[in-house]
């Protein structure tokens, strides 16, 4: 499913978190929202998820061309993985993954057996078979992250939104999960957006990178394009690339 945001503006007590942001993501793309902390990238992700709302009338969020700006998260059907996982601490791994299925309206809700089959399949897909009775507090960081993935995927979302998905993990687990995400995405072609402040992560995993700073999109492009032609001073400095401003002729 394609995602489009148009002229999104969001203010947090006067200072703009997002300033007139427009962006289009094609079906099946894996996109990284890259920027320093406080740049507004997480806010953009949360607006797409329906966890936050832009306040002016021009802002629009479209899923596959349909305006979903006014829909809250629970009607948008977007899988969201939180930075600190936000697993339900009082529920087992099984119940965590089953949650999105159990809260569906009665006529849509799968049968008990169907839920069980689906949850076990998902746990197998994230390599956590046999962990279904554990509580989140009995898992390592990487395992929790994978439960969070399985939980988000259980509702068969049309789009997957990841907020700093690997930010809290150590380097080794992080690299493994990165590769896993890329392979997973290649397999099921689910439109995916993930927020990160780590450029290696963004460049290694994504099809296109969106660089954000001070609430504005600074550049959109494939990793190669961005690295070869940084659009402005911010992009160059953020990516540690040499920068000469074309507007100011170099002094010979």
């Amino acid at each position: 499913m394609s995602i489009e945001v148009r002229e999104i503006t969001k203010k947090f007590s006067r200072y703009p978190a997002l300033d007139n942001v427009s962006l289009k993501i094609e079906t099946g793309e894996l996109i990284a929202l890259l920027g320093p902390s406080g740049s507004g990238k997480t806010t953009l992700l949360r607006i797409i998820a329906g966890l936050e709302f832009p306040e002016d009338n021009k802002s629009r969020v479209l899923f596959e061309g349909t305006d979903v700006t006014q829909l809250t998260a629970y009607k948008r059907h977007a899988g969201f993985v939180f930075q600190h996982y936000a697993l339900f601490s009082h529920m087992s791994v099984f119940e965590n993954v089953a949650f999105g299925l159990r809260v569906q309206k009665r006529h849509l809700r799968p049968s008990k057996d169907a839920i069980r089959t689906r949850v076990l399949e998902l746990l197998d897909a994230v390599q956590l078979s046999g962990f279904e009775k554990r509580l989140p507090s009995q898992l390592s960081g990487g395992q929790r992250q994978r439960v969070a993935f399985a939980r988000a995927l259980a509702i068969e979302p049309q789009v997957l939104l990841l907020d700093e998905p690997f930010g809290a993990l150590d380097t080794k687990v992080r690299k493994e999960l990165r590769r896993w995400l890329r392979e997973f995405q290649d397999r099921i072609k689910l439109t995916t957006l993930f927020v990160t402040h780590d450029q290696d992560e963004a460049f290694e995993v994504s099809d296109r990178v969106v660089l954000i700073d001070k609430g504005k999109v600074q550049q959109i492009g494939t990793p190669d394009e961005v690295r070869k032609n940084p659009a402005n001073r911010f992009v160059a400095e953020f990516l540690d690339l040499p920068w000469s401003d074309p507007a100011v002729p170099a002094i010979a």
């Binding site: 697993l87 339900f88 569906q104």
Partner: protein
């Protein structure tokens, strides 16, 4: 006591190294001694006296104190008042804790302070407020009396006064817990397609249940034991508007000491029971609070575990 004095300092010495904060053992033993004396003198002995006096004239007199119509009516009224006040304050407490921890709005800090008002104000004043508002000479009193509804010197007044006095307990128990837990899990539930009602029952309530029980238990104990506020609005009509505490006072003033203490022992048993449940709920609530506090920073400790992705 001699044994205690010699063991305490040794235990303390093992637990922490002698440093700038380590007081001489004599001082420590004296302080601990004072605490024990106070505890025995002001808490334990009075409790003992209540039970001793209750049975002073034997079991038949003790039991007779509860056979009396006035006593039965007082127990019924107390149960009724608590039965009205506790559920209402539970609903209010959850709503208040929810609003105060989940939303940011102007006046929020003032509301948090105001919730405590019934704890700081004299209960008698609390009762007088309702007399002023609903009494025969009060603002709305004449209107209600014209319509045949008695509030002051009747059950509604007693319930109102009880609600006022027990108002803070549930909210107080929940606010710190809900503040520490934050809204991440609720957001996750929302993104998974749960509606507000499902989020409350499946996510929020299980996380706050022990804090909630703690608040309800304290609220109930206070509701059943309240004297000051109820005394003002009840008028103390024996067998009609007397609650248990008021009934005890009536008995005492009539020199029926054994009966007074017998009924008082009922309140003491309630208090002890409350203490046991409260301690358990408090312990579980602290566990929930600790889990909430541990969650965000737990990652660094978990990362030190051997990598588990296979």
């Amino acid at each position: 006591m001699a044994g205690a004095a010699s063991t305490f300092p040794t235990v303390a010495r093992v637990e922490r190294p002698a440093g700038a904060t380590a007081e001489p053992w004599l001082l420590r033993a004296t302080l601990i001694g004072i605490v024990f004396v106070f505890f025995v003198l002001f808490l334990f002995l009075p409790l003992l006296v209540v039970f001793k006096e209750a049975f002073a004239k034997g079991l038949p007199v003790f039991l007779a104190a509860f056979q009396d119509d006035a006593a039965r009516s007082a127990i019924k009224l107390t149960l009724l008042a608590a039965g009205i006040a506790v559920p209402l304050n539970t609903i209010f407490g959850i709503a208040a804790a929810w609003a105060l921890t989940r939303f940011d709005f102007p006046g929020r800090p003032i509301l948090i302070t105001l919730i405590d008002l019934p704890l700081w104000i004299s209960p008698v004043v609390g009762g007088l407020i309702y007399v002023l508002v609903f009494g025969a000479q009060g603002w709305f009193g004449p209107w209600f009396i014209d319509h045949g509804i008695r509030i002051i010197f009747a059950v509604p007044g007693i319930a109102l006064a009880t609600i006022f006095v027990t108002f803070p307990f549930v909210a107080r128990g929940l606010i710190p817990l809900m503040q520490a837990q934050g809204t991440k899990e609720e957001e996750a539930a929302l993104s998974l397609g749960a509606n507000g009602w499902q989020i409350f029952w499946r996510v929020t309530l299980p996380k706050i249940k022990w804090g909630l029980l703690y608040g309800i238990i304290l609220c109930n104990a206070r509701a059943m034991g309240e004297f000051g506020a109820v005394t003002v609005v009840s008028g103390g009509v024996r067998g009609r508007t007397n609650t248990i505490p008021l009934h005890i006072q009536t008995l005492y003033e009539e020199y029926q000491f054994a009966a007074a203490f017998a009924v008082a022992s009922l309140l003491c048993v309630l208090a002890l029971l409350t203490l046991v449940i409260k301690t358990y709920a408090e312990w579980r609530a602290e566990q929930q609070l600790a889990e909430a506090a541990r969650a965000p920073e737990s990652l660094s400790t978990l990362n030190s575990q051997p990598s588990t992705s296979r």
